[in-house]
Each structure stands twice: as structure tokens, then as C-alpha cells.
């Protein structure tokens, strides 16, 4: 029988990282977003203090070294200071974004903080009331590109050892969705016989293994782009006297991302569209449970509205109005953008069949979007922008899928311009 204890497991704080995927911002929203990561981190610290946990585990990517944000580090230090005052320890491993070799300010860390080194796997003991209750193994990235399987370097849990925790910033499985840093397998981890694996790197909360042992990616505590929608937080893990851990997910994000689709199939007027969007916004507000949120609205479907939406400036005006409505709201819903994926009423297939200019045009579009050479030709037509000095620096190169998407949109645009009249 051992003493009970508890700890909080978080990772991928990305302090002071800006929100990506926002094309327009207002000043108040901007300040809230810049502070969002800090707010989330503060909430984690508050949680630790409130629940009087014994220690905090941070599994990497605390900040983005490339940003060289002094503020991020200072705030990080402040948070750890608070933990220190509350006599709570903190154990940190660094990841690919904040490798040890990367830039960091010359700061003094509070006493209670232990940062695992990058040379080899370290072990630290956690004692409570003179008793060793837990052991923690961890290793930081000493440089950004760690492609080796770090999990192999962890020793197995020795017999008689107390509750053992493994901390690692890694990529379990061959999940192609993420950068393949420190790749390893689930088996690697389970085979070590640890009682808990505190992982980091994957931003979406994932429980790879429910128990024996729990192997958990807590995800980032604050979503930073439209792909990171949904609830974000950290894990509060309680270990009872028998040494069985039970984990609870605690939400700590202060701004939530939403991406919502809205079909124009049954809508006829702009007003109806605006009303629908309003409804969606209110739904989002509800779902956000008191938090502010950023949302992107995707208009889909086909209908008579398509032509009015397609007109230049229409969506912009709608967007502007909607944003104005949110002004002054404490719990705001910032509409990042309204994207038009709608199609004209007319069925494309039938258009293709036509024998007139439209039909010819569409056939041409078909050709161009499926023929490799033609695609290359089209890409060339875009060179003026993409090969310009600034363009080269700042613009990403277009992948094929995206390009095909563009072609589709070009086709829709042409159709809008050529057809557009209403039924008479």
C-alpha cells in the first residue's frame, strides 16, 4: 500500500504561437488569441494548485523556438514559479519545436522544475513525506530532427519499483498525418512495463491505450488552427493506494475552433442565408460553453443562391456584418471566413452535355483538370505570382489536390459569369 498521489499531464503548449489559418482579425480578437495559449497554460497551473496535485508533467513543445518568443519563456517560467510556491514539482521534456539546442533565453528556472536532458534517458525520483512514491523517466530532444526511436532507450521497470512514468515526445505508429519525429510503436512502449506513459507531439487528444498502462497523448490545451477543432485540455491522473491510475480529461482551452458546413440547397435569399448563419453561430456559442470561439463556415450545396454568393463582395459584406454583430460580445464567435463551396443550380452534368459554348468550355475544363500536361501548363500560367520574389518566399507551392480544387473554382466562376440569369 502506497500513498495516494495525483498529477497533471499536458503537452504541446506552443506558448505564444500564433493562430494559423485566420485570414482576418479584429484587434480585440487578436489580443485574445495571442493570449489564448497563455490563458490555457495558466488554467493548467490553476488546476494543479486547486487540486493540489503532486507534480505536473509537460511532454514537450512548450514553445516554438523558431519564434524566439521571450514572452513565452518568461510566462512559462512564471507559471512554474507559481507551482514552486505551491510546492508542486514540474517535470519537462523538450520536443522538436523546443529542442535543447534551440534558442532559449538565459533564465533561471525555479527549484521545483526538472528539465530532462537530451543526452540520454534520465530518471528522477518523486518523494512525498520522505517516501519515494514515483519514478519518472524522460529524455528531451537535443536537436530538432530526431528521427530515431527514442522509446528503445528507456529501461524496463525494475521489480519493486514504485509507480513508474515514462515521458516522451514522439510519434507512435506511422501516422502520416504528423511529422515523423521520434517514431516508435505502441508495443515499444507497453513492453517497458511502466505504469503510465505521458506522451506529447500529437495535438489531438488520443488515448492509445486505456490502461495497463495508460498511454496518452493529451493533445494541445489550446487549438491553434481550423484543423484543431473540438475540446482541448489536459489529463488529471489520480493514483490510488493500490497504485492504479485513473485519468480524467479536463478542458482548459479558452478559445475553441469550429468548422461548420452550411448547405444552400434549401435557401433562396441572402436574408435566409444570413439567418441560417446566425443560427449556426448561436449553436456554436452554445457548444463553446462560455468560451469564445473562432469558426469557419463552409457553404456547400447547390442552389439559386450560388450566383448571388458568387458575386464579388457579397460574402465579404455578410462577413463584415456578422463580425460587427459580434463586436462587444464577451463570449464572441469570430467568424474566420465564409468559404464558398457552392455550385450553381444547374447540374454540371447537363451543362457538359450542351453543345454550345458553355458545353465546350466545360469540356475544356474537364480536359485540363485531368491531363497532367495541361495541369502543368496551367500552373505555368500562375507563375507571375508564384515565382515573384515575395511569392517565392511567402507562398507555399500548390499541391495537386489543391490545384484541382482551384480549377474547379475557376470553372464555377466562368459559369457564374456566363450564365447567371434567372428563370423567366
Amino acid at each position: 500500500m502506497v500513498q495516494e498521489f495525483s498529477f497533471v499531464h499536458t503537452a504541446d503548449l506552443h506558448l505564444d504561437s500564433p493562430f494559423k489559418g485566420i485570414s482576418e482579425i479584429s484587434s480585440e480578437v487578436s489580443s485574445e488569441l495571442t493570449n489564448a495559449t497563455f490563458t490555457a497554460f495558466d488554467k493548467i497551473i490553476d488546476l494543479c494548485i486547486e487540486k493540489q496535485v503532486d507534480f505536473l508533467l509537460i511532454a514537450g513543445d512548450v514553445y516554438d523556438g523558431a519564434d524566439r518568443s521571450l514572452r513565452a519563456q518568461l510566462r512559462f517560467r512564471d507559471g512554474l514559479k507559481r507551482l514552486s510556491e505551491a510546492e508542486i514539482k514540474a517535470y519537462v521534456v523538450h520536443g522538436n519545436h523546443d529542442p535543447l539546442a534551440g534558442w532559449s533565453a538565459n533564465l533561471d528556472w525555479p527549484r521545483n522544475v526538472h528539465i530532462f536532458g537530451g543526452e540520454s534517458v534520465e530518471k528522477v525520483s518523486f518523494e512525498k513525506d520522505g517516501e519515494e512514491i514515483a519514478q519518472i523517466y524522460g529524455i528531451s530532444f537535443h536537436k530538432r530532427d530526431i528521427k530515431t526511436n527514442l522509446a528503445l532507450e528507456y529501461p524496463e521497470k525494475p521489480n519493486g519499483a514504485p509507480f513508474t512514468i515514462g515521458m516522451l515526445h514522439c510519434n507512435v505508429g506511422s501516422d502520416t498525418g504528423h511529422d515523423p519525429y521520434a517514431p516508435c510503436t505502441l508495443e515499444n512502449l507497453i513492453s517497458k512495463n511502466y505504469d503510465y506513459w505521458a506522451l506529447g507531439h500529437i495535438h489531438k487528444k488520443t488515448i492509445l491505450n486505456e490502461d495497463n498502462p495508460p498511454i496518452i497523448y493529451p493533445g494541445n490545451p489550446q487549438g491553434l488552427n481550423p484543423k484543431e477543432t473540438g475540446v482541448r485540455g489536459c489529463f488529471l491522473v489520480k493514483v490510488d493506494q493500490k497504485g492504479d491510475p485513473s485519468q480524467e480529461f479536463i478542458e482548459v482551452d479558452s478559445i475553441r475552433w469550429f468548422v461548420k458546413e452550411l448547405s444552400i440547397d434549401s435557401l433562396y435569399t441572402e436574408q435566409e442565408l444570413i439567418t441560417e448563419i446566425h443560427n449556426r453561430i448561436e449553436k456554436i456559442r452554445e457548444e463553446a460553453e462560455g468560451r469564445s470561439s473562432v469558426c469557419r463556415i463552409l457553404l456547400t450545396g447547390r442552389g439559386a443562391l450560388h450566383s448571388s454568393i458568387a458575386l464579388k463582395g457579397v460574402l465579404d459584406d455578410i462577413l463584415k456584418d456578422l463580425r460587427e454583430n459580434e463586436e462587444g460580445e464577451k463570449q464572441f464567435v469570430w467568424i474566420e471566413s465564409i468559404e464558398d463551396y457552392t455550385n450553381p443550380e444547374i447540374d454540371r452534368k447537363s451543362l457538359l452535355e450542351r453543345k454550345d459554348f458553355i458545353g465546350d468550355l466545360l469540356k475544356l475544363f474537364e480536359e485540363f483538370s485531368h491531363d497532367e500536361n495541361k495541369i502543368a501548363e496551367l500552373k505555368e500560367s500562375l507563375d507571375p505570382l508564384f515565382t515573384s520574389p515575395s511569392g517565392r518566399k511567402l507562398l507555399e507551392s500548390r499541391d495537386d489536390e489543391h490545384f484541382r480544387d482551384l480549377i474547379k473554382k475557376a470553372e464555377t466562376l466562368c459559369l457564374d459569369k456566363l450564365i447567371g440569369g434567372k428563370f423567366t
Partner: protein, 1054 residues
């Protein structure tokens, strides 16, 4: 595809409306405005392509005239197969295609039939509207060119070149290779700026570490410098200290030297000199006081010897004082005495007078005996009242009597006299009343009778006449008939009456009445019968009867005559008697009668009056009698009252006598007397009082005088007949003096005693002081005062020096510290000189300053660094900028996408145009050309569309090329139409052709061009069905003229 028939079930204003005669060539729909041409057109489109959604805001053409909303079209395709296309808006919205074999199909089949054409194609290619042509007016030449060009593409009113331009402009708004305005360009710049700022910030953050290091170093340096400074400061201070104490040091040396020189003294009382001097002073004082006191003592002795006192006077003090007090009383008493005596005299006299008033023999004795109590007064009053009452009654009664006699009786007597007089005058006219009466009675009778007389006379005359007649006529036949007596009848009646009476007595009068009745009836019958008998004489023949009549008649007449005569006689006699009564001699005539009447009347009136008066007289007499009686009664009363009064008077007198008063007094007078008596009594009383007072005063005066003289005697001052008051004054004055003197003496004694005491005290004090002085001297080891002083001086000096030494040592110790350090100090001081010390001090101070400056410089530097660090720590700009950059990057991405789309659209569009130009346009132009030359009647023969130029040119018959802007408006329109027609032709070659609809497009063409256009239309009908809608009959005429096999459909107004 061609329309064969149209059937509208319910659509707009149409219901159950078939249109049957459609030709494969030109069908003209003629109808005025509002007739429903657009309705029909819409109907066609809706059946073919579907009904719009209710919410789309388009005109739904609901079936206003009834029917199901929808209908059907019967079409035929290229191989002349007929299909029915049916569509209704209610229900499933789906279209029904009915094949000739009866099978049905839906949307797919329809689509196939239409060659996949849809509403757009129909409208863009096959529908020609007036607005298109009218637009040409408002378009500029570029737009016109665009239109013309597009006409050949079959995309309706959209100009391809415009679209291309649009795309280009829009793309340009996003990005241009050069420039900063397009959005992407702007964002590039912004991002550049943010990047540079971020780099700056980064530099700052790099500085962070460096600055930290610097901070550390500087802090260290500061530490050293401070240390050095502290050291020097210590040294400097030390030196300064030494300099400071130098003085002390010197002084100490000096003081010790001096000390040697002063003789030693063991001890000395503190403040010795002071005390000595004080004591001596005090001794002097005391001596002075003592001598003063002695002087005073002497004075008192002298004073005392001077005073002398009269004892006797003092013994009588009280008495004298008392007398003094009573002095005033005495004086006033003596003064007032004569007045009082006067008063008494007067009062006495007054009393006498009053008594006299009451009565001559009244004196005081009587006075006192008299009772003037209130009851007595009351009695007097009562009596008085009684008397008065009696008198009054008498008076009243007298008046009454007077009244009656004087007035009433007199009046009446007067009246009676008058009336008598009156009567006397009247009496002349007194007539015998009786006679008057008679006369008055007779007169009317006269009148009547006279009347009767006249009547009778008239009758007589009549009768005479009748008789005469009768005599002439009648035969003399007159038989006197016996008449029956009447007396039996009366006997019957009387019997009846008697029986009645009897029956009444016998109480059975019913029988009586009945007997009476029977008997009277029978009597009546008897009478009647008797009478009747007379006339019933013998009934003879006519003549007899007549003769009888005549006989009767004459009988009558003579009877009557007789009667009349007797009557007449009677009357006359009566009249005569009456006339006599009335003093007429003979029968009077009416006038006389009347006169008499009035006479009589007047007389009777007079008579009446007279009677009246007489009556009145009688009455008066009666009254007079009564009054006289009354007067007598009252007189009797008066007598009685008088008697009473006398009695009361007697009574009163008796009383007076009783009281001893004058009998002549009246009660009022008596009451007055009462008042006087009272006054007298009062006066008497006051007299007595005054007497008493007088006595008292006299007594007191005597007493007083006696007292005064006794006192004087006692004090041996008695004098003969001297004024009491004056003597009293004198003695009193002397007494006061004596009293004062004795007081003074006492005081002097007291003072003497006090002085002696004081003297004693002072002497004691003096001794004490002297003792003290000698003690002091001995304490000071001195035999004399002078010695004492010198000792004091020495002692003081010694002490001063020693103190000085100690103090200076203290000073030094304060700076140096106690014990060893002190001695070190001293040693140091011994080894050095002030000049050295000063020099050292200066040096050190200089050095110190230097260091201080250095220190503050360095500190400042450090402060600066700290601030920089703080700034860097606080800077949030980085976060914001990074956020901004990210946002801009995203926007950039979006914009670049937009630009890409636009560019791609343009590119591909361009390619499509190219393709068109290469593949389609030639055909279109070829077809259009033939239309064009036809419509321009050969003026223009060719149309050009050079490749790579989205332009159209025309060539006239002379081979001259013309740009579109060089053409006239009309020609432009024709060109436009030709191209469109050309396209239709070309299109129909590839796809299923649909009917062409013209919506009154030729309406603005002048007749010449109209014809020309009609030619083109005619040409077109070779390949396509044309439906031409118009409201102008002239159009119809022209069209039918040029295209004879066109059909007409009239649409009347509903």
C-alpha cells in the same frame, strides 16, 4: 424539334386554351398588349423546362381563370414522331412524356428529346427579345463589338470579351507584377515590414542574454568599487577624527599644566561664596527689621497715652441710641398734633349739623337709639309703596270716570242730538205708514186689474162681434138643458176622506186609501158623466146637428157675455176701490199708475230711511244709558279707593310717631333721613377715633421727653429748658466719639503686642544666621571671610581644569573609543602634527570623491541595462506581430487562391474562345454571312473574324473592310441578328434544334429594313420553326406578305 400543338389547362389568364394551327415554318401570334403573349411564351418554357420554385420570386402565372396549373405541348421531332409533353405544377412536378405508342417517360426522356437543351440554351440561342436590340443604343462601341462577337457564340447577351476583361481586372486587383496597390502586393509589403520588425525584436531578444551578462559584470564591478570606497572612507574619517581631536588634545595638555600650579584643597562647600554672601545679606536685613520694629513700639506708647474716655457716656449708650431712633417719631408727632386737634373740632361740628338736619331735637342719644337696619328700611319702603299704589289707583279711577263722563257720554249725547235734528227735518215728510202700505199693495193690483179690465173689455167686444154674427146666422134654438148637480161627487169624496181618516185611526189606512180611491174615482166618473149628458141630446140629422151647434153656440155666447159683464163689473169696482186707496179719484190710467208707483216707491224709501234712523237713535239711547251706569259704578269704586288711601296714610303716620320722626315726613324723606343718620353715626365714630389718636400722640411726646431728660441727668448734662432734640444730638455725638476712642485704644494695645512678638522672632533668626555663617567658614577651612573667598576661588579653578581635562578626554574617547583604541589614538597624536594630518585628510577626501563619481556612473549604467532587460521581458509586440503575420499569410494564401482562380478562368476561357474560333466560328460566320447579305440586300457580302482577335469585321460588296464602329446602327443590328441566326443554324447542325421565338423584334425597323429582315427570317424558316409574337397588325401584314405560308394565331383580349 417543332411545336405542333399547345394546350393550356390553367396558366395565367388562360384556361382550357388550345392553340392548334402551328406550322413548321413561321407562326405569327397577334394580340394586343396584355393579351397574354408573354404568358404563352412562359408556358412553353415552363412545360419544357419546369416550373420555378414558389420562393424564387418569379411570376408563377397561377391559373387565374381556373383549371389545373399546367398543360401540355405536342411536339414533333426530326423524323416527325409526335410526343406529348405534359406538366403540372401540383403533384410530383414531374413531367410526363407520352410516346406515340402510349408509353410514357419522364425527365430523362424529355432531356433526350430536347437534345439536352435547357432553359438557358433556349433563352440564349433560340429566344430573340426586343431588349437585346434596344440595348445596342446604350452600349458603347466596345461593348457593341463585344456583343456582336458574342452573338456568334450563342451565350446570349453576355459579351465574352467583357467577361475576359472582367476577369483580368479582378485578377489585377489581387496581383500585378509591379505595383503596391493590388491586395497581394500590399500584403507582401506588409509582411515584409512585419518580418523586419520581428527581426529587430529578435535582435533584442538576442540581446537579452548579453544584457544579462553585462548586468552581472557591472554588478560585480560595482561591488569592488564600493568596497574600495568604503575603505578609503574609513581612512578618511579616521584622519578627520584625528584632526578634530587635536584641539582637545592640546587643551588637555595645557589644563594639566595649570593644574599643577594651583594649591590643593581638600574640599570646599558647594556654592560656598554664594551661601556666605546670602547669609550676610540676610543678617543685615534682620538687623534693619529689628530696629524698625523698635521704633514703632515707641510710637505706640506715645499714642496710647493721649487717649481718654468718658465711661458714663458709654454706659448709657443703649439708651441714647434708642432715643436717637425715636427722634423722628417725636418730631413728627409734635408737628402733627395741631392738625389732629383741628380735625376733631371739625368733625364735631359736622355731626352737630347733620343731627340738626334730621330733626331739631335730635341729639346723639337719639341717634344711637335709632334703628336704621335694613328691615326697617324695607318696612318704610313697603309703606311707601302702599301709599303710592293707593294713590295711583285713585288717580286711574278718576281718570276713568272722567273718560266716561267726559267723552263717551258726551259723544253719544251729541249724536243723539244730531240725529234728532235730522229726524225733525224728516218728519215733515212723515207719511202714514199704513196708508203707504195699503197703497203700495193696491197699486199692483190696480195695474193688474186694469189689465184684466182691458182684456175683459176686449173680450166683450169680441163677444159682441161674435154675437152679432151668430145672430145673423143662428136659428134660435136654445133649450136650456138641465144640468146635473155636482154635490154628490163631493159627497163621495168626503166619504172617502172620512173613511181614510178612520182607517188611519184604526191603523189600517191601506183600506182607507183604497176606499178613498174607489170613491174618488167614482166621483170623477160621475162628474164626467154629468157633464157629458149635456151634449148628448138628440142626434138628429145634419141640419139638426148644425142647428144644435148653433144653438149651443149662442147659448155659450150669451153665457159668456154674462159672465164677462159680471166680471167686468167686478173688476171695475175693485179697481175703483184700489184707486181710492191710492188717492185716485177714478180709474187711473197706466200712466197715472206708474207715476203713483214711483211716488210710492220714493215715499217708501224715505220711510225706510226714517225707520233706520229711528232705530239708530234707539240704540244710542240704550248705549247712553249703559254708560251712565258705568260711570256710577266707577265712582263708587273711587270712593272705596279713597278710603283705603286714607287708611294707609294713617298707618304711616303712626309709624312715624313710633319712630319719633316728624309726622310730616314722607317715606322717601324717611329713607333720605336714614342715609343721613348713617352718615351721622359714622361721623360719630370717626370723632371718637380722632380723640383717641390725639391722646396717644400726646402721651408719646411726654414719654419721650421724660426719657431724654433722664438720660441727660445721668450723664451729668442736664440743662434747663433746652431743646430736647438739640441736646439729644449733642449727647449722641459725644457718645460716638467716646466709642471710637475706646476702639482705637484697643487697637493700639493689640499692635503693641504684635510688634513685641515679631521682634522676638527676628532676634531668633538673627542668631541662627550668625551661627550658619561661622559654620560655613569653618567648612571652608577659613578663619575669615577673606580667606574663605580665596579658598573658594582656588577650589573653583581646580575643578574647572579637571573638568576640562575630563571633557576633552571624553571628546577624544567618543571618537576613538574606549580602552586600547584610545591609547592608540593618543599615541598617534603624539607622533604627528596637525599639518600632516590636514594634508592626509585632503588627499583622502579627493580620492573619495573620485570613487563616488565612478560609482554613480557605473550604477547608472547598470540601471540602464536593467531597464533594457525589463523592456525586453515585457515586450509583447513579438506575439502580436507573429499573430499578425500568420493572419496575413493566411490572407495571402486566400488571395493567391483567388488570383489563381481568376487567372485559370481567364486562361481556360481564352482557350475556349480559341477553340470556338477555330472550330465553330467559321461555320457560324459562313451561315451568318448569307443571312447578312440577304438582309443588307447585298450591300455587305462578307463577315470576317480574324483569328487571335476577338473582333468581327465586315466587307462591303466593294471589298472594303469595315470595323463595326463604322457601321450604322441599323446595319449593326442586322449584323447582330445575322450572326445569331448563323449560330442557330450552326448549332442546329450539331444539336437538336428547338423552335425560335421572336418577341416583336422588328417593331423598330423601318419598312425597308423590315423587309430585309423578313427575308432573313424567311431563310431561317427553312430550317427552324419560328414563332413570332407581335401586337402590331402592320407587322403581320408585312410578314404575311413576304412569307406567305405563315400562319396566324389571334389572341384576343380576355
Amino acid at each position: 424539334m417543332k411545336f405542333e400543338e399547345i394546350y393550356i389547362d390553367g396558366f395565367g389568364i388562360f384556361h382550357n386554351y388550345p392553340i392548334k394551327n402551328l406550322t413548321p415554318g413561321l407562326t405569327i401570334f397577334i394580340g394586343p398588349n396584355e393579351a397574354g403573349k408573354s404568358t404563352i411564351l412562359s408556358f412553353q418554357k415552363r412545360i419544357l423546362f419546369g416550373f420555378p420554385d414558389r420562393r424564387s420570386g418569379l411570376n408563377l402565372y397561377p391559373p387565374l381563370a381556373g383549371g389545373n396549373h399546367g398543360g401540355r405541348l405536342i411536339i414533333s421531332n426530326a423524323d416527325n414522331t409526335r410526343y406529348t409533353i405534359e406538366r403540372y405544377s401540383k403533384g410530383t412536378h414531374n413531367v410526363k412524356v407520352i410516346f406515340p405508342d402510349g408509353s410514357t417517360g419522364g425527365t430523362t426522356e424529355l432531356s433526350n428529346l430536347l437534345g439536352h437543351a435547357n432553359k438557358d440554351i433556349f433563352e440564349n440561342i433560340y429566344a430573340f427579345g426586343l431588349t437585346e436590340l434596344q440595348d445596342f443604343e446604350t452600349l458603347n462601341s466596345e461593348a457593341v463589338k463585344g456583343r456582336i462577337y458574342s452573338a456568334g457564340t450563342g451565350i446570349g447577351a453576355v459579351s465574352l470579351s467583357e467577361v475576359q476583361k472582367n476577369l483580368e481586372t479582378e485578377a489585377g486587383s489581387f496581383f500585378k507584377e509591379r505595383g503596391s496597390k493590388p491586395e497581394i502586393n500590399a500584403i507582401f509589403n506588409e509582411i515584409k515590414k512585419i518580418d523586419s520588425r520581428l527581426r529587430e525584436i529578435e535582435k533584442d531578444t538576442q540581446n537579452f542574454d548579453r544584457l544579462h551578462k553585462e548586468l552581472e559584470e557591472i554588478t560585480k564591478e560595482i561591488g569592488y568599487v564600493e568596497q574600495e570606497r568604503n575603505q578609503i572612507r574609513t581612512k578618511s574619517n579616521h584622519t578627520t577624527n584625528l584632526v578634530t581631536v587635536w584641539d582637545d588634545w592640546r587643551k588637555i595638555q595645557e589644563a594639566e599644566e595649570r593644574l599643577q600650579k594651583i594649591p590643593e584643597i581638600e574640599n570646599f562647600p558647594e556654592n560656598g561664596i554664594e551661601m556666605l554672601e546670602r547669609n550676610i545679606e540676610k543678617i543685615d536685613e534682620l538687623n534693619e527689621s529689628i530696629s524698625e520694629k523698635n521704633e514703632r513700639l515707641e510710637k505706640i506708647k506715645i499714642q496710647k497715652s493721649v487717649i481718654r474716655i468718658d465711661e458714663k457716656l458709654i454706659g448709657n449708650k443703649d439708651k441714647i441710641l434708642e432715643l436717637q431712633k425715636g427722634q423722628d417719631k417725636y418730631i413728627s408727632a409734635t408737628k402733627g398734633l395741631p392738625t389732629v386737634e383741628e380735625t376733631l373740632k371739625r368733625d364735631k361740628e359736622g355731626l352737630k349739623g347733620l343731627l340738626h338736619e334730621i330733626g331739631p331735637d335730635w341729639d346723639e342719644e337719639k341717634l344711637s337709639n335709632f334703628d336704621i337696619s335694613i328691615p326697617t328700611k324695607e318696612t318704610v319702603r313697603r309703606k311707601h309703596n302702599t301709599l303710592e299704589e293707593a294713590k295711583e289707583k285713585i288717580r286711574d279711577t278718576e281718570k276713568e270716570v272722567q273718560g266716561i263722563e267726559q267723552k263717551d257720554i258726551k259723544n253719544i249725547e251729541e249724536e243723539i242730538e244730531e240725529v234728532d235734528k235730522h229726524l225733525k227735518t224728516q218728519s215733515l215728510q212723515q207719511i202714514d205708514e199704513k196708508k203707504l202700505e195699503q197703497q203700495r199693495k193696491s197699486l199692483p193690483l190696480l195695474r193688474i186689474k186694469y189689465q184684466k179690465l182691458k182684456e175683459k173689455e176686449a173680450d166683450m167686444r169680441n163677444l159682441d162681434e161674435k154675437e152679432e154674427l151668430f145672430t145673423i146666422l143662428k136659428p134660435h134654438r136654445a133649450e136650456p138643458l138641465p144640468t146635473l148637480p155636482i154635490w154628490p161627487a163631493f159627497m163621495l169624496i168626503a166619504a172617502g176622506i172620512v173613511s181614510l181618516i178612520l182607517s188611519i185611526f184604526g191603523n189600517d189606512w191601506a183600506i182607507g186609501i183604497s176606499i178613498l180611491a174607489i170613491l174618488s174615482v167614482s166621483s170623477i166618473i160621475y162628474i164626467i158623466l154629468s157633464r157629458k149628458e149635456l151634449p148628448t141630446t138628440t142626434p138628429e140629422g145634419f141640419e139638426d146637428k148644425e142647428a144644435e151647434d148653433l144653438i149651443k153656440r149662442s147659448k155659450d155666447l150669451s153665457e159668456r157675455r154674462n159672465k164677462l159683464e159680471s166680471a167686468l163689473q167686478k173688476i171695475k169696482s175693485e179697481i175703483l176701490s184700489n184707486a181710492e186707496i191710492c188717492d185716485f179719484g177714478d180709474i187711473p190710467d197706466p200712466q197715472q199708475i206708474e207715476n203713483k208707483d214711483s211716488e210710492l216707491r220714493a215715499a217708501s224709501e224715505n220711510q225706510l230711511k226714517l225707520n233706520e234712523l229711528k232705530k239708530q237713535q234707539e240704540m244710542r239711547d240704550q248705549k247712553l244709558g249703559k254708560l251712565r251706569e258705568e260711570a256710577n259704578t266707577v265712582k263708587k269704586k273711587l270712593e272705596a279707593l279713597r278710603k283705603e288711601e286714607e287708611k294707609a296714610q294713617k298707618d304711616w303716620r303712626n309709624w312715624l310717631t313710633e319712630k319719633g320722626l316728624n309726622l310730616e315726613l314722607t317715606p322717601e324723606g324717611t329713607i333720605d333721613i336714614f342715609a343721613t343718620i348713617k352718615t351721622c353715626l359714622e361721623k360719630k365714630k370717626s370723632i371718637e377715633e380722632t380723640k383717641a389718636r390725639l391722646n396717644a400722640i400726646q402721651e408719646s411726646i411726654e414719654e419721650y421727653e421724660t426719657k431724654v431728660s433722664s438720660v441727660l441727668e445721668d450723664c451729668n448734662r442736664k440743662n434747663e429748658e433746652i431743646n430736647v432734640i438739640v441736646e439729644l444730638e449733642k449727647i449722641t455725638g459725644e457718645l460716638n466719639q467716646a466709642i471710637e476712642d475706646s476702639k482705637t485704644l484697643e487697637q493700639l494695645d493689640r499692635d503693641e503686642e504684635n510688634l513685641k512678638l515679631e521682634l522676638r522672632t527676628l532676634e531668633i533668626k538673627l542668631e541662627e544666621r550668625q551661627r550658619t555663617v561661622s559654620e560655613l567658614l569653618s567648612q571652608g577651612f577659613a578663619e575669615s571671610e577673606t580667606e574663605f573667598r580665596e579658598n573658594a576661588r582656588n577650589w573653583e579653578e581646580r575643578n574647572k581644569r579637571m573638568d576640562e581635562i575630563i571633557q576633552r578626554e571624553q571628546n577624544i574617547k567618543r571618537i576613538s573609543g574606549n580602552g586600547k583604541p584610545y591609547f592608540d589614538f593618543i599615541n598617534e597624536l603624539e607622533e604627528t602634527s596637525p599639518e600632516d594630518l590636514e594634508e592626509k585628510e585632503l588627499q583622502l577626501k579627493e580620492r573619495l570623491e573620485e570613487i563616488e563619481n565612478n560609482l554613480s556612473e557605473v550604477r547608472e549604467k547598470r540601471g540602464g541595462i536593467a531597464k533594457e532587460i525589463e523592456q525586453i521581458e515585457r515586450r509583447e509586440e513579438g506575439s502580436f506581430l507573429r499573430m499578425e503575420k500568420t493572419v496575413k499569410m493566411q490572407k495571402l494564401k486566400k488571395n493567391s487562391d483567388e488570383w489563381s482562380i481568376l487567372t485559370l478562368a481567364r486562361t481556360i476561357m481564352g482557350k475556349a474562345i480559341e477553340k470556338y474560333e477555330q472550330e465553330r466560328q467559321p461555320e457560324v460566320i459562313k451561315e451568318a454571312q448569307s443571312f447578312f447579305s440577304k438582309t443588307t440586300l447585298g450591300r455587305y457580302s462578307r463577315i470576317y473574324a480574324p483569328l487571335d482577335e476577338a473582333k468581327i469585321y465586315v466587307e462591303d460588296k466593294d471589298g472594303r473592310r469595315k470595323d463595326i464602329q463604322d457601321l450604322s446602327r441599323g446595319t449593326t443590328e442586322q449584323l447582330y441578328l445575322s450572326l445569331r441566326f448563323g449560330f442557330v443554324r450552326e448549332f442546329s447542325k450539331r444539336a437538336e434544334s428547338l423552335p425560335i421565338v421572336f418577341d416583336d423584334i422588328l417593331v423598330n425597323f423601318d419598312p425597308r429594313r423590315f423587309r430585309a429582315a423578313c427575308e432573313a427570317i424567311k431563310e431561317l424558316t427553312k430550317t427552324n420553326q419560328i414563332l413570332y409574337f407581335t401586337c402590331h397588325p402592320e407587322t403581320v401584314d408585312l410578314l404575311t406578305e413576304i412569307i406567305p405560308d405563315s400562319k396566324l394565331v389571334e389572341i384576343p383580349v380576355r
